[in-house]
Every structure is written in structure tokens, then in C-alpha cells.
């Protein structure tokens, strides 16, 4: 494993943990949902580095794409998540 890939994976890990912090701390639900989608997207790149292209594809299409849209569908229905 060369240094560039190592550096990129460290960067991805830091970005994922940062996005997860945003997810659990953000004030608005919409921000939290976008950050969760970002965690999934970075995870799919990390899967690609770990020689798992099948999993990377699934995570990018399902975990990052469809899940985020489902959240936004429901968020739009409940009028912004405020009660």
C-alpha cells in the first residue's frame, strides 16, 4: 500500500468523522440528513480503496442516494421537522 492511498484514506476517515459530528450536532434536520449522506458517500470511496467495488457501488447508490432522498421526502411531509 503506497503513501498516497494511505493519506487519502486518513483524509476520508477524518472527513467521515467530521460529517458524523455534524449529523448528531446540527440544529436543522436537513443539515443532519445531508451530512449523513456525506458519511455514506465517503464510506463508499473507502470501500473502493479496500478492494470492494461491489459494496462501494451499493453504498453509493443505496446508502448515499436513495436513503437521503427518502429522508427528504419525509422531511417535506412533516413541514421541516418542527413540532
Amino acid at each position: 500500500m503506497n503513501t498516497v492511498m494511505f493519506a487519502i484514506s486518513v483524509l476520508l476517515a477524518v472527513a467521515m468523522i467530521g460529517a458524523a459530528f455534524i449529523t448528531i450536532l446540527a440544529k436543522r434536520p436537513a443539515t443532519a440528513m445531508l451530512a449523513a449522506g456525506l458519511v455514506s458517500l465517503f464510506a463508499s470511496v473507502l470501500f473502493l480503496f479496500m478492494a470492494a467495488p461491489d459494496v462501494a457501488m451499493t453504498e453509493a447508490a443505496i446508502g448515499s442516494g436513495l436513503t437521503t432522498f427518502l429522508f427528504f421526502f419525509v422531511l417535506g411531509r412533516v413541514r421541516g421537522g418542527r413540532s
Partner: protein
């Protein structure tokens, strides 16, 4: 790299659980669960990773004869493939119930749901 992914996965699980246990808004709880879900998948894939090997796909670069020494463990990948798809199903179900709760009671804050409290 597997160490980084595994550590990140464990951290994500802990953060997701923290968010799920401390938030009161149902939508935020579900979002936290998806973060924990991603963490579990990362850990599982990292367990199957081996240094200096390639993906379990046979082609010109990796012939069938040398597959045993060249590819990584395919079983965790098949497992995680299932886990991601089921994860979306679980998330969709949780969101549906959250929406139904909002429709019936008009609230998203679980601390205001006192029906089952005693």
C-alpha cells in the same frame, strides 16, 4: 488501511448510538441510526481486507489459478451487500412510522409521546 477503516467504523457506531440515544426528534434519531449502520458496514468490510490483494473479480489481471493468493475474502463483501439493502428497508420502515406518528398525533418529539409511559 484496514486499521483506519475499522477505527472509523467503530467511531461511527459510537457516534450514531450517541445521537440516537440523546436526540428527541424522531427524524434525527433515524439519521443517527443510518450513521451507525454505515459504521457497522465499514467494520465488516475492513475485517475482510488483506494487504496487497485485489478485489474478488477474476479477469486478465487475476486468473482463476492464482485467485487463492491474489484476492481478498469475498464473504464479508457479500454479507455487507445484503446489510446495505436491508438497511435501506429498515430506514424506510422507520421513516414511514415516523410520518404516520406525525400524521396521527402531530408531533415528532418522542419526549412528548406519553402513551406508553408509566
Amino acid at each position: 488501511m484496514d486499521w483506519i477503516a475499522m477505527g472509523t467504523g467503530f467511531t461511527l457506531i459510537l457516534m450514531g448510538l450517541y445521537g440516537a440515544l440523546t436526540n428527541r426528534n424522531i427524524l434525527r434519531i433515524i439519521v443517527s441510526f443510518t450513521v451507525a449502520d454505515t459504521g457497522v458496514n465499514l467494520v465488516l468490510v475492513a475485517v475482510g481486507y488483506m494487504h496487497g490483494r485485489t478485489a474478488p473479480i477474476l479477469d486478465e489481471a487475476v486468473s482463476a489459478a492464482q485467485a487463492v493468493t491474489r484476492i481478498i475474502d469475498p464473504v464479508p463483501q457479500a454479507l455487507v451487500l445484503t446489510a446495505i439493502v436491508i438497511g435501506l428497508g429498515v430506514t424506510a420502515l422507520m421513516l414511514t412510522y415516523a410520518y404516520k406518528l406525525y400524521e396521527v398525533k402531530g408531533i415528532l418529539d418522542i419526549s412528548k409521546c406519553k402513551d406508553l409511559k408509566w
